[in-house]
């Protein structure tokens, strides 16, 4: 499908982290297509509302299917898409507000079901598209247009949340590390079950955290991100919890459940065991 329709008028701000995420997503999907010898048409990108969700329109190269819906509902939509056709590679792209605030209710059910979709969450610690209000990952005390005297809420730790809710693949990425991020997203797609790749993706306009994340020697700022240590055992939930108690933001696979049976598989197993009745027999049951 040819792209760049002149009517489409959305652009990200210069330096926005989402550019990097877009590139990583494109490459991860490409890799996945090669791995499975699968046409691009098998990929569906379900997008939330926010600067982040616009990734579906800015996607370069051969185009996947897209569904750009309403704020906070990309997970339940992806649930319907995936279970309607489990052969599809279904990816959710969402922001910290979209995924964790208004859409926060949908994470637990997908984790409990182990729905086999991959969610890529672009966390910029702010509501970008609506111009800079606080989000669940904005720190306590931060001043924004809606917290003019400082945010009153503790910030949420998304990685810990995913672990507790039982997400079976949890990874942490950074939009500036495109190669690594590509790899994480691709691993998420390979994982048979619900995978969340939570990405630090700075908002240059409302919450520029590049210095904080990467560090800036000149300004005397130490980097917050660091690679998950090689010694980390991602199959251990306890190890994952421990890792998250440490300072800074670890990048890499935090947790991956070893035996992960996705919902579509569970569903099939159940259905094979269940004694089905065709419609004629169903109707016969009501016969007088």
């Amino acid at each position: 499908m040819s792209k760049k329709n002149p009517e489409y008028d959305f652009k990200w701000c210069p330096g926005c982290g989402d550019f990097g995420v877009k590139r990583a997503l494109e490459m991860a999907v490409q890799q996945r297509n090669v791995e499975l010898e699968m046409p691009m048409a098998n990929t569906v990108v379900v997008a939330g509302i926010g600067c982040s969700g616009n990734i579906v329109h800015l996607y370069d190269g051969e185009q996947p299917f897209g569904l750009h819906g309403i704020h906070g509902r990309s997970l339940p939509i992806s649930f319907g898409v995936k279970m309607a056709n489990p052969d599809l590679n279904v990816v959710v792209v969402s922001g910290d507000g979209d995924f964790l605030s208004i859409g926060g209710e949908h994470i637990a059910p997908m984790a409990q079901r182990n729905l086999n979709v991959t969610a890529v969450v672009m966390d910029n610690g702010v509501y970008g598209l609506t111009k800079g209000q606080s989000s669940p990952t904005t720190d306590l005390g931060v001043i924004t247009p809606t917290t003019p005297f400082g945010k009153l809420e503790n910030s949420l730790n998304p990685l810990e949340l995913y672990l507790t809710l039982g997400v079976s693949f949890v990874a942490s990425g950074f939009s500036s590390k495109i190669k690594e991020l590509t790899n994480l997203i691709n691993q998420g797609m390979k994982h048979p079950g619900f995978s969340v790749v939570h990405v630090q993706s700075p908002c240059t306009t409302y919450n520029d955290t590049y210095d904080l994340l990467k560090g800036n020697a000149k300004k005397g700022i130490d980097a917050t991100v660091h690679d998950v240590p090689e010694s980390h055992d991602p199959s251990s939930k306890q190890a994952a919890y421990n890792l998250l108690q440490e300072e800074g933001i670890p990048l890499g696979v935090i947790y991956q459940r070893d035996e992960s049976d996705p919902l579509d598989q569970r569903f099939n197993v159940m259905r094979e065991k269940a004694n089905a009745r065709d419609l004629d027999r169903q109707i016969a049951a009501f016969q007088i």
Partner: protein, 571 residues
């Protein structure tokens, strides 16, 4: 007793017994060719609470629950107090003499139901004691009940024979008591059995079967009275390759999941009641905007808010047609009988596929809980429509033009973005005025595909007409038939297709002096919509949580017509 028709009500503290008795009576009589309809009502609680269940048995097709009772079985004093006034003159009340005693009167006799049951050795045969008594009162041929009992309990198990014996004994003990009472209601005429095979089925099961017959693939729903049984039916029966059914974590999840499935090429559906419908508002708007086929069943109950979860009302019509912000007009099919539950569900799936958008089915608590005999549907005659699927090359402009266009299916050619923001032909967001104008036209044009001229009409030359909708069809039709018998001059119109209305129907209605709309809500919602379309419509409303009584309707319709003729009232 009208010897073509009788109504029996069982009333007492909630629990299964009452409902089973009414349903048993319906089964027995329908098996020998009577027409039946049951009705159940109970409070929103699990056990206990004042409940009643009734069955109407008739020699010809049954349209309403029956206004007056021929027989009331009152299991406790509260039930007696609540219901006795509904027993017609000459009717009979059987009361539970273990619970309370009445002064002697010309209507009632006491029976020690449980004691009699216990004396058969089977304390659970209380139903049978009651049924035996009733059978005697209505002079039912003696072999009906024993035959039914024998058939029902012959399950090839060791104890079968004993159970059958006990039950038959209970039947005759009941009959004897009735005989002793000296009451009798005259003989019920023999039935003219309906032609063809019949089902005895409730509205929600018929909705589910209708949808499955029309090719439903995916069902996701969240429990809520009185819609839960649709979900329960689907969980058990929507099986087969590629089918998927699931209990969601909320109605917001349901609606978004089924639109996801609709986008992915499947026929999808959910069922809910008012509170769930309200929660689905935003999602329904998305399906409309992004042009995704999907179907929402709303089994209406009393509103607003949590309202009256176990009572009947038809007050969700306005919000069904205009559920969400922005310019939307959601197709609505309102089913009026158990049979229409089957056909309406199939039609809704077809409509969704045909115009590529969301369709709402309105049913109600009354239909959901009533068992009725309906002709066995002929599956080979069910029309199944499938969306136009895009099969060309990539580079397709899915949102091109102002008419319905083939829909790409993920996995196949024609990748595009289904977009809830205003969009250009490939689904990218745009704010250009002409695109919004074109796409608005497109979304509304597509409704033209649903303007089938399917409607009932009778006496169309009359200048005054009655037109009801949904579950009020039965009592309204019965009222109409009574008035026709009295040579009143009134036309009859009816359709399941409330939005869009059949165009020819609308034209006819516009030419009337007055169209009266019996409906179970306060606002007179359907009449409002008709007036907005230029019809001089006026509602006959009721908002008690209970269905219309035929007699009330006859009176109110006649009064209204009389005052219209005197020119006393204008809209």
């Amino acid at each position: 007793m009208r010897n073509t028709d009788f109504v029996v009500r069982f009333a007492g503290e909630g629990g299964g017994g009452l409902v089973t008795s009414a349903e048993l009576l319906a089964q027995v009589t329908s098996q020998v060719g009577y027409h039946v309809k049951t009705f159940v009502t109970f409070p929103s609680q699990i056990m206990g609470g004042p409940t009643f269940a009734q069955a109407r048995i008739s020699t010809s097709p049954v349209l309403s629950y029956g206004d007056q009772l021929d027989v009331l079985v009152a299991l406790d004093r509260e039930a007696y107090n609540t219901h006795q006034s509904e027993v017609r003159d000459g009717g009979v009340i059987i009361y539970n003499a273990e619970d309370f005693q009445l002064e002697e009167d010309e209507k009632s006799f006491g029976m020690r139901i449980d004691e009699l049951a216990k004396s058969t050795g089977n304390p659970r045969a209380a139903n049978m004691v009651m049924l035996g008594a009733i059978a005697y009162l209505v002079n039912m041929p003696e072999h009906y009940l024993p035959e039914y009992v024998t058939k029902r309990f012959s399950r090839g198990r060791p104890g079968d024979e004993e159970i059958i014996k006990g039950n038959i004994m209970a039947l005759s003990l009941g009959a004897e008591e009735a005989k002793k009472s000296g009451f009798s209601l005259g003989a019920l005429e023999d039935p003219t059995p309906p032609s063809g095979e019949q089902l005895l089925i409730k509205g929600n099961d018929a909705l589910a079967i209708g949808a499955i017959a029309a090719g439903l693939d995916v069902f996701v729903g969240y429990p809520i009275s009185p819609a839960t049984t649709v979900l329960v039916y689907m969980e058990r029966n929507l099986t087969g390759p590629g089918k998927f059914v699931y209990q969601a974590s909320s109605e917001i999840e349901s609606i978004n999941a089924i639109l996801g499935a609709g986008f992915a090429g499947k026929k999808s559906m959910t069922s809910t009641a008012g509170p769930g419908l309200s929660l689905m508002s935003e999602g329904i708007g998305l399906a409309w905007m992004a042009e995704i086929p999907t179907v929402i069943i709303d089994v209406q109950r009393g509103g607003p808010a949590t309202g009256l979860p176990t009572k009947v009302e038809q007050s969700d019509l306005l919000v069904a047609i205009h559920p969400a912000h922005g310019d939307v007009s959601i197709p609505v099919i309102a089913v009026g009988t158990v049979e229409e539950c089957f056909t309406g569900a199939a039609l809704a799936l077809n409509w969704a596929e045909r115009y590529q958008g969301p369709v709402i089915i309105l049913s109600d608590h009354g239909l959901s809980e009533q068992a009725q005999n309906i002709p066995k549907p002929d599956l080979s005659k069910v029309i199944v429509e499938n969306r136009k699927v895009y099969t060309g090359n990539n580079g397709y402009e899915r949102y091109d033009g102002v008419d319905v266009s083939p829909m790409p299916v993920p996995g196949g050619p024609g990748a595009y973005i289904a977009n809830g923001s205003e969009h250009d032909p490939i689904g990218d967001t745009t704010h250009l005025p002409n695109r919004h104008v074109d796409m608005t036209h497109r979304r509304f044009n597509k409704l033209d595909l649903l303007k089938d001229d399917n409607y009932e009409r009778e006496n169309q030359d009359e200048s005054i007409a009655i037109m009801t909708w949904g579950g009020s069809k039965g009592p309204t039709r019965e009222a109409y038939d009574i008035m026709m018998g009295e040579n009143q001059k009134i036309g009859w119109y009816y359709t399941m297709q409330l939005n869009p209305l059949p165009p020819q129907l609308l034209e006819e209605l516009k030419s009337k002096e007055l169209v009266l709309i019996p409906e179970l809500n306060y606002l007179g919602q359907f009449a409002m919509l008709l007036r907005a379309k230029g019809v001089n419509a006026e509602s006959i409303t009721q908002y008690t949580g209970t269905p219309f009584k035929v007699g009330d309707l006859v009176t109110r319709i006649k009064d209204r017509i009389a005052s219209h003729k005197k020119g006393l009232v204008n809209v």
